[in-house]
Symmetry: C2
Subunit: 385 residues, 2 copies
Amino acid sequence: MATPNKNQITKKALALHKKLGGKIRIVPAAPVRNRADLSLVYTPGVGYVSSHVAKNPKSARELTMKGRTVAVISDGSAVLGLGNIGALGALPVMEGKAALFKTFADVDAVPIVLDTQDADEIVETVIRIAPAFGGINLEDIAAPKCFEIEQRVIEALDIPVMHDDQHGTAIVVLAGLINAMKVVKKDIQKSRIVVAGVGAAGVATMRLVKKFAPKAIIIAVDSQGIVGHSRIDLNSTKAKLLSDGIIDGSLEGGLSVAVTGSDVFLGVSQPGVLTTEMIKTMRKDAVVFAMANPTPEIMPDEAKKGGAAVIATGRSDFPNQINNSLAFPGVFRGALDNQVRKITDDMKVKAAVAIAKLVAKPTAVKIVPDMFDKKVAKAVAKVIK
Amino acid sequence: MATPNKNQITKKALALHKKLGGKIRIVPAAPVRNRADLSLVYTPGVGYVSSHVAKNPKSARELTMKGRTVAVISDGSAVLGLGNIGALGALPVMEGKAALFKTFADVDAVPIVLDTQDADEIVETVIRIAPAFGGINLEDIAAPKCFEIEQRVIEALDIPVMHDDQHGTAIVVLAGLINAMKVVKKDIQKSRIVVAGVGAAGVATMRLVKKFAPKAIIIAVDSQGIVGHSRIDLNSTKAKLLSDGIIDGSLEGGLSVAVTGSDVFLGVSQPGVLTTEMIKTMRKDAVVFAMANPTPEIMPDEAKKGGAAVIATGRSDFPNQINNSLAFPGVFRGALDNQVRKITDDMKVKAAVAIAKLVAKPTAVKIVPDMFDKKVAKAVAKVIK
């Protein structure tokens, strides 16, 4: 299934990137017009500022870029739906994120792409380049190494670190889910939720949904079927979802077994894995988030035929776009403003609730706010503390 | 000797840095106003650009920030005249450089400060973060490790790498020296030049001056005296200056022995090491560059008393400010424009000559162009090819 206007968008996107020559610019915060300016911004004035910061490291937050800048770091091992395309391939995405950080939340963001895909090397490199930054946004790093990398960097640094593919996605999915359940008038705590895809986004989503609704039953499905107790091929991340009680591992079988009798389908997996027939086996007023990008697990019109009451995708050309841009700018804005050292699960749940609340009256075609609504980042920033 | 207005500049510089909250901003190259913009800058459009760049790595120069951006990287081990003040202390200087890069040459520059001062770790970290950048400006890294680090990074990467404390300084010193010799009507090839200070700047300056004027006699003086054949305490960098024939190692003694009968004194050493009496022992119409910062090797009025005909310092409050800002913006502008993979000694000599030429009629108080003269970076960029 092709993305609509794919050729046209490709052409336009390439032309724009060529015209711009990169999507960000690094400019002086104040003009340097003459020697007087220079004597403050550079030598000799800067020497006194440097001495001051060296003696009072905390002052770096107010006297340097550290107080307003995050690094957006990727090794290019899992870029969008493109897979492992390497550092240079990842760069346009990181630049795009930097542009959005500034646009949505006035956060300065530096794209960094790494010429290594080794977990140990990524961890030590991120730690070594951290001093100039007030936060680290890890991006497009493949699962399962992304879990270990994020954990180790969080433990090593005293600034907030977030792998956005995990937690940005989880926050926005939970926000959308909260409102979708209002639309279908169901209690999330009494619902059965199938998550297809147990990568970065899937794992974080399951954990965050369970944090918000501990009584919800969550069933995880990967490419081999339901992640259950009978499986002997599970990696440690998946085994831990079972042992932590995040997912229900009592069932055996494929996606069709999992969705039968479920209330919610959350797809962060592969194009086309969900069918109209499968949705027909779900409980009445099914909620279907088909977020594989650019081609969803099921197209919205087919989901509707199966009886889905609320349908969301990752795409801008259908209603209910579940997009990280609703979360990450505000999360880091808040972390910088409130000098947060660690972004906790509590904060992530609060961020999801804050995003959901911005839609006063959720409907089947409006479960999340508009990305360009300036209230979004502000509302999220407020609860990251 | 205090810098004039030190307290006033300190106060003003701190206030400005506090007001600005860091000296650079990272902004989108084009506004992201709506979903149509977003679909090109970010998903789905960016996906096609990423695929294209992954398949055609060379296209990164025109489609990403790589074609216009350099990293300014320091470990904070030798910051200005402040010494080893660490990563955070170095950050205001790196931000200042980024501001100047943009102001003088429209180069986008990303400040990176490293939480390591180990040569091996610095080298591997710079290599790992290099893909997003079209050049690497190493900055304020202590000698002698700076020589090895620069060499190893140059060899590992296919983008230009320059340790500015070495080569930026050398280029501007040579430019000033060329014009100073015109003022005193002496042939640099027949001159005897004393260089005080055999760190990053001193070593590069000696090598570049010798490249430009192979017949000039250069005498190096470090804190232990003349770097000569009788010395048994020389590190490998200093020994190599002798074995490469860059310096004359026949003399023994201190700075006063070295300067006696010399034409030129180039100081990149310590405040106050040169005296009026010493200058009196130099040949007629001595050229004195006293570039220790902020307090020079000798103050200009005292140098004049000794008979110096041309006097330069590193300071903006005296004539003839020898400042790297005359070189580094244009060097990297040229390297980016002309896709230069390595900045050679030939290019550095040409850059010095180009800077010197911008002063049509050099005088004792005007041997280098004004830093705010927009022709400087353009003239330098033109010869970096």
